[in-house]
């Protein structure tokens, strides 16, 4: 939802980044305001996941230029955990398996580190249990997943749901969902999309990275951006996604090359 004069949550200016000295991001520009839903689409290897990981602070990526301001502060100066605690959330394209760490413990430690950051009292195991059970409903996930190790042996779709469960618990200010729709069956896609919609409001914002217009039938974006070769080369409304679905990327890439 686009609202006049709403607060800027994220502002990316001419961001460049490398991985192992190879430039991947080559001048990203993006502004996201409270209440908005943005979608980034683009060919494989264009740098979408790299962009999301740079925002989250992955140590393998080196920022070589530009600036990112998040809620008015210099995002790039923050440690990854502090970005998360101030409400930045990345749902991974490939969520990691962490054998030996129970999902429930993980969620509680994560939730409490955010509470602590906000100078709120940490929740004990008992109260947290109540909270989790309430949030399980958002993604219609079985409580049995809580006692298993984080993502260990989860199916592709279950991992994605688990990411959204984490999002539901952490209630981020800016949620970046990297291909959360891939690997989901049709019912799961509706459930996950429903969860995301339920969590989005006028104070927060969502950035979806996706290859498929299908997701955008359920989560209606305010802006659709096309990313290619490390930059956003075109921005439009939700209709752009339909056009891309019908025509592919070539016409955008060609128009850009001219």
């Amino acid at each position: 939802m686009i609202t006049e004069n709403s607060d800027v949550i994220l502002s990316v200016n001419n961001l460049t980044a490398t991985v192992e000295n190879t430039p991947i991001l080559k001048g990203m520009n993006l502004e996201i305001k409270a209440g908005e839903i943005h979608a980034i689409m683009g060919p494989n290897g264009s740098g979408k996941s790299t962009f999301s990981k740079v925002l989250a602070g992955h140590p393998d990526y080196a920022v070589t230029g530009g600036a990112v301001s998040y809620l008015g502060q210099d995002l790039l100066a923050l440690e990854p955990q502090d970005r998360a605690r101030s409400g930045l959330f990345l749902a991974f394209q490939y969520p990691l398996e962490i054998p030996g760490v129970s999902n429930l413990d993980f969620l509680r430690v994560s939730y409490n580190s955010k509470r602590k950051h906000e100078a709120l009292e940490e929740l004990d195991a008992f109260d947290f249990d109540d909270l989790v059970h309430e949030k399980l409903g958002v993604v219609q996930m079985d409580a049995a997943f809580l006692s298993r190790s984080v993502n260990e042996g989860f199916s592709g779709g279950e991992k994605k749901r688990n990411e959204i469960l984490q999002m539901a618990i952490l209630e981020p200010k800016l949620a970046i969902l990297d291909e959360t729709d891939s690997g989901l069956d049709i019912d799961a896609l509706k459930i996950v999309a429903g969860g995301v919609n339920q969590l989005s409001n006028a104070q927060n914002a969502t950035l979806l990275i996706t290859h498929y217009q299908r997701l955008l039938d359920y989560i209606i974006p305010d802006y659709v951006h096309v990313m290619a070769n490390g930059r956003i080369i075109r921005t439009g409304g939700k209709d752009l996604a339909l056009e891309l679905e019908a025509r592919g990327y070539d016409w955008v890439l060609e128009a850009e090359a001219v």
Binding site: H58, Q81, P99, G100, L170
Partner: protein
């Protein structure tokens, strides 16, 4: 002063003689026990003190042990309550090798269970020193043997709660704990053998535990070594398994400047099951060595071994796992996995699986991995608001948990989990 190998040998020989004296190895008396002791003393005298030139001690240098000035002295401990395990009501406590009934709980035992010291259960002497007896440190222990923690489970008895064998050492001591477990046919028992100290000054513990499983007996044995960081610990666990028996060892080593645990499994009948879970956690300049020998001499045996080592700072881990499957041991299923987690660039592991498989119709797998904490895993946790240090601790604990979770006493699991990541 740099000592030449020759000097080291002379030094070592003198040291052994000194240890034998301290162990109270005398030739007097003709009791059955004395016969064992004398024979063992002879075996010690016929061997040389190991150096890194011995294949079996290649990575584990005992040179610093020679510098220790040791004593043997009876002592007591005012309060063992911090070490008591609520879940393990039966307990035998030994301090500096001496049985302390007042710190033990060997009364009101369930039917079919007898526990106590050797003096109280002399009938079981016949089982002593039957396995792995040749080896130098086992012989040294036997040469000084005058008491032992004894657990005797009669036929068909199923002991409902764990038995805690608590061996405590005080400063400067040369202590030789000894335990003897006899599980008769179809019996079942759970043991927690624990070695610890109340002191920070160096001492030397040389322990031997013998476990006998008769037909279809089941023994679940957790062996916890949390000696002082300055201590030397050499330990032997020798197990013999008759037909259809099931033995599990959960060995956790956290303490000692230098520790060596040698597990020996002898199969004396068909269809045995052996599960060995091991965890060694090393930091500072600790050296932690696990040797295991599994000798499968009968058909249809199953062994599963998982040994994990976590190594930080400049510590050094050693794993050597031997599995023998001779022609007779057809249809054996043996799996061995050694996984190592290096937490610092100076940490070191030497791992060597040694499989000798002659039988043709068997299934044997083995593997060793050496890894570090994955940047991506740490980042994943950080991206959920967990700081890097806590994330690393969480991951290290998770690595350890696979073994710690096997210990059937919750309070001990928690104590151990805490000490894996706290200095």
């Amino acid at each position: 002063m740099i000592s030449s190998p020759q000097m080291r040998l002379t030094e070592g020989g003198a040291y052994l003689t000194q240890l034998l004296e301290m162990a109270g190895a005398t030739a007097s008396g003709d009791s059955a026990l004395q016969v064992l002791r004398s024979a063992a003393a002879g075996r010690v005298q016929s061997q040389q003190f190991p150096t890194t030139r011995d294949e079996e001690w290649r990575f584990t240098d005992l040179a610093d042990l020679l510098k220790l000035e040791l004593i043997t002295q009876p002592a007591t401990v005012a309060d063992i309550s911090p070490y008591q395990l609520a879940e393990a009501p039966y307990r035998l406590t030994f301090v500096n090798g001496r049985y302390l009934p007042e710190l033990s709980q060997a009364e009101n035992l369930p039917d079919g269970l007898n526990i106590g010291n050797l003096a109280g259960l002399p009938d079981l002497q016949q089982y002593l020193a039957q396995q792995g007896a040749e080896e130098l440190f086992t012989a040294l222990n036997t040469a000084g043997l005058n008491d032992a923690a004894v657990v005797h489970v009669r036929k068909y008895a199923v002991v409902p709660s764990p038995i805690h064998l608590l061996f405590i050492s005080t400063a400067d001591q040369f202590t030789q704990p000894r335990a003897l477990i006899v599980a008769e046919a179809n019996s079942s028992v759970t043991l927690i053998e624990e070695h610890l100290s109340l002191s920070d000054t160096p001492y030397f513990t040389n322990s031997v535990t013998e476990v006998f499983l008769a037909d279809s007996a089941e023994v679940n044995h957790s062996r916890i070594q949390r000696d002082a960081d300055s201590a030397f610990h050499i330990g032997k666990t020798a197990v013999s398994q008759m037909r259809g028996s099931r033995y599990t060892c959960n060995a956790v080593s956290l303490g000692a400047k230098l520790s060596r645990h040698h597990l020996e499994i002898y199969q004396t009948g068909e269809q045995t099951e052996t599960t060995l879970n091991g965890l060694t956690v090393l930091r500072g300049e600790q050296v932690g060595d696990t040797h295991s020998t599994i000798a499968l001499t009968h058909p249809h045996g199953t062994t599963r071994q998982l040994h994990k080592t976590i190594i930080d700072d400049r510590a050094h881990g050693v794993f050597n796992g031997k599995v023998y499957v001779p022609q007779a041991a057809q249809l054996t299923n043996a799996g061995q996995l050694n996984r190592n987690l290096l937490l610092s660039p100076k940490a070191r592991i030497d791992t060597k699986p040694q499989l000798e498989i002659v039988a043709d119709n068997v299934k044997c797998t083995h593997g060793a991995t050496v890894g570090q904490l994955e940047t991506d895993e740490v980042f994943y946790l950080q991206s959920r608001g967990i700081d890097a240090d806590s994330a690393r601790k969480l991951l290290v604990n998770a690595f350890a948990y696979e073994v710690i979770s096997q210990i059937p006493v919750d309070s001990l699991q928690q104590t151990l989990s805490r000490s894996v990541t706290t200095r």
